[in-house]
């Protein structure tokens, strides 16, 4: 087996990113779309921390901390919006929500 290096983490995060993108593009349920967004954010974080380790500086770690904080804020606001959409349209199917008013 080869030595674990930077490329291993980059390949892993590329796979994670493309799977998350696939989820965002294909799922009809808005909550599952949010799960795909979380996968994409995790892939970005993995890249940042891998570069931070093999670079020796702290910038990547600090950026990933901020990304985690913003992901928490994003999930809270997005779920509040999804709940409102459900109260208005009685569905969270992103393919059927196509009007801006009730």
């Amino acid at each position: 087996m080869p030595e674990i290096g930077l490329n291993h983490y980059l390949v892993l995060s590329a796979i994670l990113f493309s799977l998350g993108l696939f989820g965002v593009l294909t799922r009809r349920n808005a909550v599952v779309v949010l799960m795909g967004v979380e996968l994409i954010l995790n892939a970005a974080n993995l890249n940042l921390i891998a570069f931070s380790k093999y670079n020796g500086t702290m910038s990547g770690v600090m950026f990933s901390m901020f990304v985690i904080i913003l992901a928490a804020a994003e999930a809270a606001v997005a779920l509040a919006i999804v709940l409102n959409v459900y109260a208005t349209f009685k569905t969270v199917d992103v393919g059927e929500i196509d009007t801006m008013r009730e």
Binding site: M1, E3, I4, N7, H8, Y9, L10, V11, A14, I15, L16, F17, S18, L19, L21, F22, G23, L25, T26, R27, R28, N29, V31, V32, M35, G36, E38, L39, N42, N45, L46, I49, S52, K53, Y54, N55, G56, T57, M58, V61, M62, M65, F66, I68, I69, A71, A72, A73, A75, A76, V77, L79, A80, V82, L83, N84, A87, V92, D93, G95
Partner: protein
């Protein structure tokens, strides 16, 4: 094999095990039709990414990942699943659409990223960090990143208050749903 290094072998084997867990459970999140399966597969993905942070000697970020993602965001997503479905319906399934174009886009982007990362990019290797990350994070937060730190704390407060305000509705939300 007299100089077989068991420590290095275990290191690599556990790395590949966690990488496999991440890829398989992320695929389950995306390809499973049941929403509950997706949510619980996301749990394993997040734990696996936390293990990767430990491998990258970013232990503080790993603990933060588990506390914030698994303890916070995943629970929030499960609440979202429960509140936006009629809980009496037997199976929580979700439809998929745009399968073929999305598959093409996904494979094209994956190939482009991998090609760029592995063949085109010439990374400048610096001094590899081997120490723990807890103490440097404390220094950085109090020196270089003190303004972003304060701003992001206010942003988190504003976002959570806004989320609570938006999610609260004038009509009794949960009670009304049950009648129809």
């Amino acid at each position: 094999m007299e100089n077989f290094d068991f420590g290095a072998f275990a290191y690599q084997a556990i790395f590949y095990l966690f990488a496999l867990i991440i890829v398989v459970s992320a695929a389950m999140v995306v390809f499973s039709r049941s929403i509950i399966y997706s949510a619980f597969s996301l749990l394993f993905t997040l734990f696996g990414v936390g293990a990767m942070y430990v491998y990258l000697s970013a232990d503080f970020v790993a603990v933060t990942q588990i506390v914030v993602y698994v303890g916070g965001i995943l629970i929030l997503l499960l609440f979202g699943v429960m509140l936006t479905n009629k809980i009496t319906q037997e199976r929580l399934l979700t439809d998929v659409f745009n399968i073929v174009p999305s598959l093409v886009i996904m494979l094209a982007i994956l190939g482009a990223i991998l090609y760029t990362f592995l063949y085109r990019a010439k990374w400048h290797a610096g001094q590899e960090r081997t120490t723990t990350v807890v103490e440097p994070i404390g220094y950085e937060v109090m020196t270089n990143y003190v303004l972003p730190f304060e701003i992001v704390s206010i942003l988190l407060l504003v976002a959570l208050m806004g989320a609570a305000y938006i999610a609260r509705s004038e009509k009794k939300f949960g009670l009304e749903k049950r009648s129809n």
